[in-house]
């Protein structure tokens, strides 16, 4: 088992990673939403 | 994983089909398993009932298990490919689930089986055995069925080579307009089944929901290129016997082809959800031999020229009312209902309607925007009310407007002449 300061450190690191990951995923969602709206009407007619 | 070894050496493999029914844990081998056996005993009864019901269908016993009779080269190819494919998948299913069933029967705790601890194929032989089904699957997908499928698509999409005539199909909610551009013939085809049959007030005819007023007439043994488009939403033209189905998309011209090899009447219907009348948009094609077809074309052309002169003559109110009655009960009734009652919330009533009981021309003889005649000729965008000037003749529009203004308790007393409509187009 880890001692106290190490555990705290681990906890903080995990929290930071969580925040980074959530922000990255949300940006990704926003990007795809915007791309669908703006770019796909231009790209997709090529399929017809 | 020694699948094959075990399967070959075990003689009781046939009994494995019974395994799922009688395979309870001995700990629970009491009332519960009796119950399940009881249900299992009823199984044959159920299956028998289902088969009895299928077998007792008199009208279409011939083709009930399969496609309708194929009459074009594409339909014959499709049915052959489909039957092959169904055989293959049934084969795969039986083999795979025979192995499953064998395991279910053989590897039961109650029969003293000792669980293995393997988590993947162990020997080279087992790896080969594990990989072979996938090689077989790739062979089935991309060679056995894949190559003929490619040729079938190429054939299906080749609408132009050696095409001998063109028919243009324009779909609207909920009817088909057929046009022979080279012959200058154009007519609308709508459902002929009576509302009383649909609402169970009258016995249903043999071709219930699959009969139309003006069938599409096509010659046999001729490659006919069919162009498709739509005026409102996406529809889909499907006659099962022809083996083709293609969407009619507004704003696009799609194409397909048929070459009907056998004279006869072929029935289908719209296959794309297109609103409330989706179920009531049948397609009937009459395939006739070349000489009769030429005759029909000549007759239809003559009718066309009388219709043109008809637009110039002055019609009496009785004539317009009679024709309007016929058209209303064929087309308008789908939405506006019998007696012009409409469906509250969906389709407006015509009886007592402000539009119908209002003026339709202004002092200068121009259409009043959103007046009765304007609504019929130009439709109401965004609703099922379409611009009927695209599909109706001058006479038909004049007749229907006159009819609506003087029926369902509307007493406008006026009428519209075909010549007026012609001038207003």
């Amino acid at each position: 088992m880890m001692n106290e300061p190490e555990a705290m450190n681990e906890h903080e690191k995990r929290e930071r990673r969580t925040v980074q990951l959530v922000v990255a995923l949300m940006l990704f969602v926003a990007l795809i939403y915007a791309m669908t709206f703006i770019k796909l009407p231009v790209w997709l007619p090529a399929l017809q | 994983m020694e699948l094959t070894d075990a399967a070959i050496h075990d003689e009781s493999a046939i009994q494995m089909w019974l395994a799922p029914l009688s395979c309870c844990n001995p700990r629970h081998e009491t009332a519960s398993s009796r119950e399940i056996r009881q249900i299992a005993k009823q199984l044959p009864l159920w299956i028998g009932m289902v088969f009895f019901l299928f077998a007792s269908e008199p009208a279409c016993a011939k083709s009930i298990w399969d496609f309708q009779e194929p009459v074009t080269p594409i339909a014959r190819d499709s049915i052959a490919a489909s039957v092959d494919f169904l055989r293959i998948i049934m084969g795969i299913y039986v083999v795979v689930f025979a192995v499953f069933a064998y395991s279910l029967f053989k590897h039961r705790k109650s029969s003293g089986a000792q669980p293995g601890t393997f988590t993947k194929p162990g020997t080279k032989w087992q790896w080969a055995l594990a990989i072979s089904p996938f090689l077989l699957l790739i062979y089935i997908d991309y060679i056995w069925m894949g190559i003929p499928a490619f040729h079938a698509i190429a054939k299906m999409e080749d609408t132009r080579t050696a095409a001998e005539m063109v028919v243009k199909v324009t779909a609207s909610q909920w009817k088909w307009q057929y046009e022979y551009p080279e012959e200058n013939i154009k007519f609308v085809s709508t459902i002929a089944t009576k509302q009383d049959q649909i609402h169970n007030k009258e016995a249903k005819g043999a071709h219930y929901l699959q009969e139309v007023d003006n069938p599409l007439i096509l010659p046999t043994n001729k490659k006919v290129r069919i162009l498709l488009t739509s005026t409102d939403v996406i529809h889909s033209w499907w006659v099962p016997s022809f083996g083709v189905k293609r969407d009619a998309v507004p704003g696009y011209l799609r194409e397909m082809w048929v070459n009907i090899e056998k004279p006869g009447t072929y029935r289908g219907q719209c296959a794309q959800l297109c609103g409330d009348g989706h179920a009531f948009m049948p397609i009937v094609v009459e395939a006739i031999a070349e000489p009769q077809f030429t005759e029909w074309v000549a007759k239809k052309k003559a009718e066309g020229s009388t219709a043109k002169t008809a637009a110039d003559k002055v019609w009496s109110r009785e004539e317009l009312m009679a024709k309007g009655d016929e058209i209303y009960n064929g087309i308008c009734i789908t939405c506006h209902q019998a007696g012009g009652k409409g469906i509250p919330g969906a389709f407006p009533a015509l009886a007592g309607s402000k539009i119908v009981n209002g003026p339709f021309l202004d002092k200068g003889g121009r259409l009043i925007k959103d007046g009765h005649l304007d609504r019929v000729m130009n439709g109401k965008p965004g609703t099922a009310m379409q611009a009927f000037k695209n599909t109706f003749s001058d006479t038909e529009i004049a007749a229907i407007v006159t009819y609506e203004r003087n029926s369902f308790g509307n007493h406008m007393g006026d009428m519209v002449q075909p010549s007026q409509v012609k001038a207003l187009r």
């Binding site: 990673r17 969580t18 995923l25 969602v29 939403y33 669908t36 009407p41 399929l47 017809q48 | 799922p20 629970h28 519960s32 119950e35 399940i36 249900i39 289902v50 299928f54 009930i64 298990w65 496609f67 499709s78 494919f85 998948i89 299913y93 795979v96 689930f97 499953f100 395991s103 279910l104 590897h107 039961r108 705790k109 669980p115 293995g116 988590t119 996938f134 894949g146 499928a149 999409e157 649909i198 609402h199 249903k204 929901l209 939403v233 996406i234 083996g243 083709v244 969407d247 998309v249 507004p250 704003g251 799609r254 289908g268 959800l273 297109c274 609103g275 989706h278 509250p344 919330g345 609703t383």
Partner: protein, 533 residues
């Protein structure tokens, strides 16, 4: 597979508030899991009730009960409710409840977001259904009637508030799914117990991780398509409006780019949990763990590049048709890897056949049928005959009901003793399985043949040649619906504690961290992470 050395199960040091506030404010993954699953269960019966009305209309030819407009609303709502209201929330409930237990985490990474994600759902459901009920009071023209993927130019198809409400529902559901998906990704990547490497997490967790990635990629597309539809309807844009230079096929492309992965979003959780159940009742370790993980990823990847096989009759160019045909066929390979691994899971085991095992085997048999019939469909020439006919209805119910629902039921019976601390009535459970299996097949086999004979889907009334098929199918559907009431009875009795006490292990062969803690589970688990070898 994994073994916990220190599975510390705390006593409840923090008691939840009592009554309704517990459920409104809870951030506990188990509470939210139960909420999600109950919501899914309730919606399953609402969606089922709708389709009963549809089957009643189809019992005989002619219009007896419903107007065509009402009919279109009912089957559209049935599909939307079953996919977005029943199967997806139920699978989300399972992931909420099980993922932290399976990876040895105290809770999900974002518990408050989790609560928010759930409480969006009831409002979304109400929003979807409001127009349906308002029409009986003469307000509006009813709920959306455009089919569940709305892949027709809805502008002309239906005016009124129905589709607008459906569009808002889609946005809300998308938001809920996204919060859930992000939560799963973050939890699985960040919250695993020490020693629980990615290649050790149970397959259910893998399946959900992949599902979450798929949701994150396709939900924004679906929401954007719905937004475009909304602006087309009300703000004068012309994305899909052919009369003004828009492109109705674009809507189909967007919707199916979402819609095809959606099929796997519904199925993947079931594929993930089936190996657990098969392994438990065969008393064997999971077979082909790596192969299944790779197969799930392969299916995830392929699902993004085959969407147009839903549009093969819409007049794609020849090259596109050929590409989508061959690409679609490729899906059969990873799928059959899964089937092979399920077979490996039971092979040479020591099987017993409790209710969850029966449902898992039923899943394999029915999903196998759905998958194999799917093998024919990409053949473009033959597809022209199958597309939009009852063949398709039969096919996708074999995958969604025979696959998705059977899988969810197997999971429910498998973990129910774990959730409640009591065993359910095994006898009734088996009866429920056999009734479901028989009537499910009785409902959907005739539909296959009706489709072959040329019956299109979505029709409120049909020609006489299809009457026998529809009669049998309707009778089967009513019986199928009725036999699901047995499930309610079984679950309610189990929750009330009528059965014998369940052990922590519950099933003799059960493995995994969630079976190392007592049943029913304490309110908080794994506050000190277990160490995994």
């Amino acid at each position: 597979m994994t073994e916990a050395i220190t599975a510390v199960a705390h006593d409840q040091h923090e008691h939840p508030p009592a009554g309704i506030m517990r459920w409104l404010t809870t951030t506990n993954h188990k509470d939210l899991g139960i909420l999600y699953m109950s919501f899914g269960g309730i919606m399953f019966f609402i969606g089922g009730a709708f389709i009963m009305a549809v089957r009643a209309e189809l019992l005989f030819p002619g219009l007896q009960l419903l107007s065509p407009g009402m009919y279109n609303q009912l089957f559209t709502l049935h599909a939307l409710i079953m996919v977005f209201g029943a199967i997806m929330p139920f699978a989300t409930g399972l992931n909420n409840y099980l993922i932290p237990l399976m990876i040895g985490a105290p809770d999900m990474a974002l518990p408050r977001v989790n609560n928010w994600g759930f409480w969006i759902l009831p409002f979304a459901a109400v929003l979807l259904l409001i127009p349906f009920f308002l029409q009986f009071f003469g307000i509006g023209s009813g709920a959306t009637a455009a089919g569940w993927v709305m892949h027709n130019t809805s502008l002309d198809l239906q005016s009124g508030i129905g589709i607008d409400f459906a569009i808002f529902t889609i946005h809300l559901l998308g938001l809920s799914s996204l919060t859930g998906a992000i939560n799963v990704v973050v939890t699985v990547l960040n919250m695993r117990a020490p020693g629980m490497t990615l290649m050790k997490i149970p397959l259910f967790v893998w399946a959900w991780l992949i599902t979450a990635f798929m949701l994150i990629l396709v939900i924004p597309v679906f929401s954007a398509a719905a937004t475009m539809l909304l602006t087309d309807r009300h703000f004068g844009t012309h994305f899909f409006d052919a009369a003004n230079g828009g492109d109705p096929i674009l809507l189909q492309h967007l919707i199916w780019f979402f819609g095809h992965p959606e099929v796997y979003i519904v199925l993947l959780p079931a594929w993930g949990l089936i190996p657990h159940i098969l392994a438990t009742f065969s008393r064997k370790p999971v077979y082909g763990y790596r192969a299944q993980v790779y197969a799930l990823w392969a299916i995830c990847f392929l699902s993004f590049i085959v969407w147009s096989h839903h549009m093969l009759t819409s007049g794609l160019p020849l090259a596109a048709e050929v590409y989508f045909m061959y690409a679609t066929m490729a899906i059969s390979i990873p799928t059959s890897v899964l089937v092979f691994c399920w077979l490996g899971a039971i092979w040479r085991g020591a099987m017993t056949f409790e209710t969850p095992m029966l449902f898992a085997l039923g899943f394999v048999a029915h999903f196998g049928m759905g998958a194999l019939t799917g093998l024919i469909l990409p053949d473009v020439a033959v597809n022209a005959q199958y597309h939009n006919s009852y063949v398709i209805v039969s096919h996708f119910h074999y995958t969604f009901f025979g696959g998705g629902i059977f899988g969810m039921m197997a999971a429910l019976y498998y973990w129910l003793p774990k959730f409640t601390g009591h065993m359910f009535d095994e006898k009734l459970g088996r009866l429920h399985f056999w009734l479901t299996t028989i009537f499910f097949n009785m409902t959907f086999i005739p539909q296959w043949f009706a489709g072959l004979d040329g019956m299109p889907r979505h029709i409120a009334d049909y020609a006489l040649r299809f009457s026998t098929f529809n009669l049998i199918s309707s009778v089967g559907a009513f019986s199928l619906g009725l036999s699901q009431l047995l499930l309610v009875y079984i679950v309610v009795r189990c929750v009330r504690g009528d059965g014998p006490k369940a052990t922590g292990q519950v099933w003799e062969g059960a493995q995994g961290l969630e079976f190392t803690v007592p049943s029913p589970l304490p309110y908080h688990t794994f506050e000190t992470p277990p160490e995994v070898k």
